[in-house]
C-alpha cells in the first residue's frame, strides 16, 4: 500500500521508528470473522449530512460529513456478509430516561445533559433517539444488536459469549468513533486474542487527527487496517458455516 491516511501526521523520525522497530506487520484476518459495526447511530451521524461544526449543534457527538461518507461502505460490507452467511453484530448505546446511568460519560463533556430526550438542544427539532441505528444500515432479523454503556463492545456485554455461540474466531470492525469505541473494542479484541481487520473507509471520528493517528496506532499494534477493496476480497474468501440466529 502506498501512502496511508496517517502518514501526513507523522514525523520522519516516527516513520523510521515504526519501520526499524518492526511494527505494523500484516497479522492477517481470522478464518471465521464476524462483522462488528460500532455505534453507527443518529447521535454519531446526525439526521442528515452536514459539515461537522453545524452538525454538533444538533447532536453533540455527531461526526458530520465523514459519518455519511462511511455509511455506503458499511452498507456494502453488511450486504456482502449477509450474502456469505457471516454474522453481523451491531453495538449502540443505551441510557435511562433520567440519564443516571451515563456515569463517567458526564465527566468530560459539558453538554452530556443533552443525551436524554428531555435535554435535547434547541437545534434538534426531531424526537429521534440518538441510540437508534441508522436507517441506511438498519439491522436485519438475523443480525445481532448489543447495547452497551461504555466504550468497549466487550465491556459488560455478552459479546465474547455470542462469538463463541456463533463459532466466530475473529472480527471485521467498522464504526465510530475511531479514537473512542472502535479503539476500545479493538484493544479488547486483541486482549482476548481475536484477530481483527479494521476497514478504514467504514470508520469515522469527529477529529481528523485522532481518526488518522488511532488507525495508525491500531495498525501498528493490534489489528490490520485495510481499505474496502482488500476487505471485500477477504470476505469473499470466507467459506464457513456459523451458528447464526434464525431471525
Amino acid at each position: 500500500m502506498t501512502e496511508r491516511i496517517w502518514d501526513k501526521f507523522l514525523t520522519e523520525r516516527d516513520k523510521q521508528v515504526f519501520a526499524k522497530g518492526g511494527w505494523a506487520a500484516n497479522a492477517g484476518g481470522g478464518k471465521k470473522p464476524a462483522l462488528l459495526i460500532i455505534d453507527v447511530n443518529y447521535a454519531f451521524c446526525g439526521e442528515q449530512s452536514k459539515p461537522i461544526l453545524e452538525a454538533v449543534e444538533e447532536w453533540r457527538t455527531s461526526c458530520g460529513e465523514e459519518a455519511w461518507e462511511a455509511l455506503p461502505h458499511i452498507r456494502t460490507l453488511i450486504d456482502k456478509c449477509h450474502e456469505k452467511g457471516i454474522p453481523v453484530i451491531y453495538t449502540t448505546g443505551t441510557i435511562r430516561d433520567d440519564g443516571w446511568d451515563k456515569g463517567s460519560w458526564a465527566w468530560k463533556s459539558s453538554r452530556s445533559d443533552e443525551d436524554t430526550s428531555d435535554g435535547a438542544p434547541p437545534a434538534r427539532t426531531s424526537n429521534r433517539d440518538g441510540n437508534d441505528i441508522m436507517d441506511e444500515i438498519a439491522p436485519s432479523p438475523q443480525d445481532i444488536v448489543i447495547r452497551k454503556l461504555k466504550p468497549s463492545a466487550f465491556y459488560a456485554t455478552p459479546l465474547v459469549s455470542f462469538l463463541n455461540d456463533l463459532g466466530a474466531d475473529s472480527l471485521i470492525v467498522t464504526g465510530t468513533t475511531t479514537s473512542g469505541c472502535v479503539r476500545a473494542s479493538v484493544l479488547d479484541a486483541f486482549s482476548n486474542n481475536y484477530r481483527t481487520v479494521i476497514v478504514e473507509e467504514g470508520c469515522f471520528d469527529r477529529s481528523q487527527a485522532s481518526h488518522a493517528i488511532n488507525l495508525c496506532d491500531m495498525h501498528a499494534k493490534y489489528a490490520d487496517v485495510v481499505q474496502m477493496d482488500e476487505a471485500m476480497e477477504y470476505i469473499e474468501g470466507i467459506d464457513e458455516t456459523y451458528n447464526l440466529p434464525t431471525g
Partner: protein, 229 residues
Amino acid sequence: MASKAEFENHCWADIMKPEDLETYAPYARETGIGDNPALLVIDLYNLVYKGGRKYPHELEKDFPNSCGIYADDAIAPTQQLIAGCRAAGVPIFYITTQFNPHRVASTRRTNIKMVAEDCEIHDAFAPHPEDTVFREERPSAFFGTPLIAHLNERRIDSLIVCGESTSGCVRASVLEAHMYGKHVSVVEECCFDRCEITHKVNLFDMHHKYADVMHLDEVLSSVSLMKAA
C-alpha cells in the same frame, strides 16, 4: 458420553428427594465432551492434601482448608484423567492460588495461615512444560486471568473440569465458562470438597444448569475416541 437414561446416575442419587428429581426431569439429556476441549485442573495445591486420609473436621485445627480423605480419594482418578487427556493431545490448563500474605482471599474464612509452598500444585499432578499454569486470587479461573484469551486463540470450544472445591472454585469457573458460551464437562470422581453433601448438591446444580457431570470412564473413553478421530 452417557445416555439420557443415565442422566441421574450420579453421586447425588442418595440424597435427592424423588419429588425434586421429578421437578428436574425435563433437564435430562445425553451428556458428553465438546469437539475441541481443554482440561482445566483447579486448585490441586498442597494445602488441601495436608493431614492425609482423615475427615476434614478432624484436620480443621492443624490443617484448616484440607479436604483430607476427599482429596486423597480423588488423587488416583485425577492422575488417570490427566494422563488420558495428555495422551489424546488435549491442552491442559492448571489454575492455582496466588500466594500473597496480603492476598484477596477467595473465601471469607478467617483462620487461614498459608505459606507459599501451600499454593504449589501437588507433586501427584505436576504440570509438564507444555501445560499452562495460571494463578488466581478469586474463585473463578477466569477472573483476573487471561484464560479466555488462551481458549479463544486455540479455538477451544469446551472444558473438561476437575479439582476443588466443588462448591467454590470449580463451581465459579464452570459457571463463568458457561456464560462465555463454552460447553463444560465436570468429572465427578475428580472433584472434591470439604463437605460431602455440598459436593453432591453442587454437582447436581451444575449438571442441571450449566454442565455435563460425567464419570471418569466416560470422559476417558470420549477423549480416546477423539484421538482416534
